[in-house]
Amino acid sequence: MQRDPIVEVEDLSVRFVNRDIDLSVVSGVSFSLAAGEVLCLLGESGSGKSVTMRALLRLLPPHAQITGRIRLAGRDVIGMSERQLESVRGPVGAMIFQEPMTALDPVFTIGTQIAETIVSHEGVSYTDARKRALELLEMVQIPSAERRLNAYPHELSGGLRQRAMIALALSCRPALLLADEPTTALDATVQIQILLLLRSLQRELGMATIFVTHDIGVACEVADRISVMYAGRFVETGPVGDVIARPSHPYTAGLLQSTVHAGSRGQRLPSIPGAPPDLADLPNGCSFSPRCSRRLAACDTSVPPLVGVGEDRMARCVNPLLVAETVLA
């Protein structure tokens, strides 16, 4: 079954440039995503996962230079004017953030914010928009939604606020939902509620979804496919269950081993030595090689290409844990 992809990204690179610095934050990222698919970008701080996602809607500071090709629903995002971007942000791709308090406007009620967005994008009457806002709040399972429509963001608890932001993001019926660590700031009992909600909404509405997270547990709960990022590059990508069960790139393997899990009690955690690299001072070859236990001489000469390491799986490694089958680009 071949569906038209909602997102096509080819060789995306993002550099942050100003007078003092020139940092390659994201380099050579390519992927595509069809309707109804959930991709998880997994990585530690500074791995470029958030920047990759923001680049899709060009939500980056002015000193960011984006190169490569990004197509959302068949439209080229890189060449768009600010006006055209506005028509993409919302109806095509909508975003939810880690901190709903900063993403919601504190001086307007939840209902007003959602209704305003609907009016401006779909041109319906305010009364109709208000009705839809109520439906949306019910859809994200906010209890006594009618009353919450007139609440200000600060009057809601953290979990309800995050639900309100999801409702706002869904207000323009986006084909693509971008979620940037949406549950990181939440308590465990609330986090699982939001994750289950997002999972069911995504299925119901058939949205393509990109989830950015540093938490493997979150990825396991929501993702179909997973792409592990390190120092601005995809180092491994594949179906989530397969990658978690049989990681191929040494970084993914190390990350999984060093994550505390039930049953690790009393044992020493195998850990990855060293610290994540300084983006201003990356090694010539593989960025992970200074911390890698499977390092070969070839690792330091040039950045290894992504190679196929199994069905629907790729790893950017010269000496992967799963043996390469066919060498791709």
Partner: protein
């Protein structure tokens, strides 16, 4: 060595004049020497407040504390002695280091406070750095911004252990670190505990991490202790419905065994106006009339295992408690 126990009962709402935030209310517990007590709970449950109360960084409204047989204050240990015996490592590795101090300056500060001479303090700072795995020649003169998150947290730990404390309070000390670095720091903490004969109070919201390091676990909800017991017992046979829900909310590490039903609905209530009786009753599926009327107290559930829930307390008046009453 018998009877060497630390006993810290703290009681009373902690609040200011116009709004009593009942951050910590009637919390009592003890930690045995050489043990790691894990404290878990969600934000606002009072775990960090408890830590600050223990260090006397904030004054308790009521309650008292016994450290190694000596009461704190009232003619017992002075605050200064307390703070030498007990040290704390904070969550935010950057904010907890003075941006204008080098690693050495940061560590020697506490030593100098306790009357150790300058050169002696420098020497001790170097050995503390070595203990936490930072080569003194490389790191002694670095400023916080010249180090990575993991290295900064190691400096924080070095500062804590330099004073030779017996108890180390770790307040979300590994929570902000990247996973690959978190494992290193956890290993370090476990090693240090053995080498220096430390007692840990390990506060975290991360249940997996607490499971990994703790001997006993204390679960808090809205300023109250709801359950306490040996780690395996709490993780496998929790008695309190909140503890069970909290553990059910853990993310599976296996995409084939995803969590399918929401274990617990709603958000934690506002600690300014906590529910009457049992504070958890508003989110509890077993709540009955007695839960709103009477506040449950910790009752024994097995060896060293206690929970504060009417449903598991004999003769509490809760319908489920009857069977247990006969057994008891």
């Amino acid at each position: 060595m018998e009877g060497l126990r630390k006993y810290f009962p703290l009681r009373g709402p902690l609040g200011n004049v116009n709004a009593h935030v009942q951050a910590v209310d009637g919390v009592s517990f003890h930690v045995a020497k050489g043990e790691t007590l894990g404290i878990v709970g969600e934000s606002g449950c009072g775990k960090s407040t408890t830590a600050r109360l223990l260090m006397r960084l904030i004054d308790p409204d009521a309650g008292n504390m016994v450290l190694d047989g000596d009461p704190i204050g009232h003619g017992g240990l002075t605050l200064r002695e307390l703070r030498r015996t007990m040290q704390m490592v904070f969550q935010d590795s950057y904010a907890s280091l003075n941006p204008r101090h080098t690693a050495t300056e940061e560590i020697t500060f506490g030593l100098r406070v306790h009357g150790i001479g300058r050169s002696e303090a420098r020497e001790q700072a170097r050995s503390a750095l070595r203990l936490v795995g930072l080569e003194p020649d490389m790191f002694a003169d670095r400023y916080p911004h010249e180090m990575s998150g993991g290295q900064r947290q190691r400096v924080n730990i070095a500062r804590g252990i330099a004073l030779n404390p017996r108890v180390l309070i770790l307040d979300e000390s590994v929570s902000a670190l990247d996973k690959s670095v978190q494992a290193q720091v956890l290993n370090l903490l476990i090693d240090l505990k053995e080498r220096l004969n430390l007692t840990y109070l390990f506060i975290s919201h991360d249940l997996n991490v607490v499971h990994h390091v703790s001997d006993r676990v204390l679960v808090m909800y809205l300023g109250k202790v709801v359950e306490v017991g040996p780690v395996e017992r709490i993780y496998q046979a929790a008695a309190h419905p909140y503890t069970r829900a909290l553990f059910a909310s853990r993310l599976s590490m296996d995409p084939r065994q995803r969590v399918d039903a929401v274990p617990l609905v709603g958000d934690p209530p506002n600690p300014v106006r906590p529910p009457s009786g049992c504070r958890f009753r508003t989110r509890c599926e077993m709540a009955e009339a007695v839960c709103a009327a009477v506040e449950p107290i910790l009752s024994e559930q097995g060896a060293l295992h206690e929970a504060a829930c009417h449903a598991v307390t004999p003769n509490s008046g809760h319908s489920r408690a009857g069977g247990l009453a006969h057994a008891a």
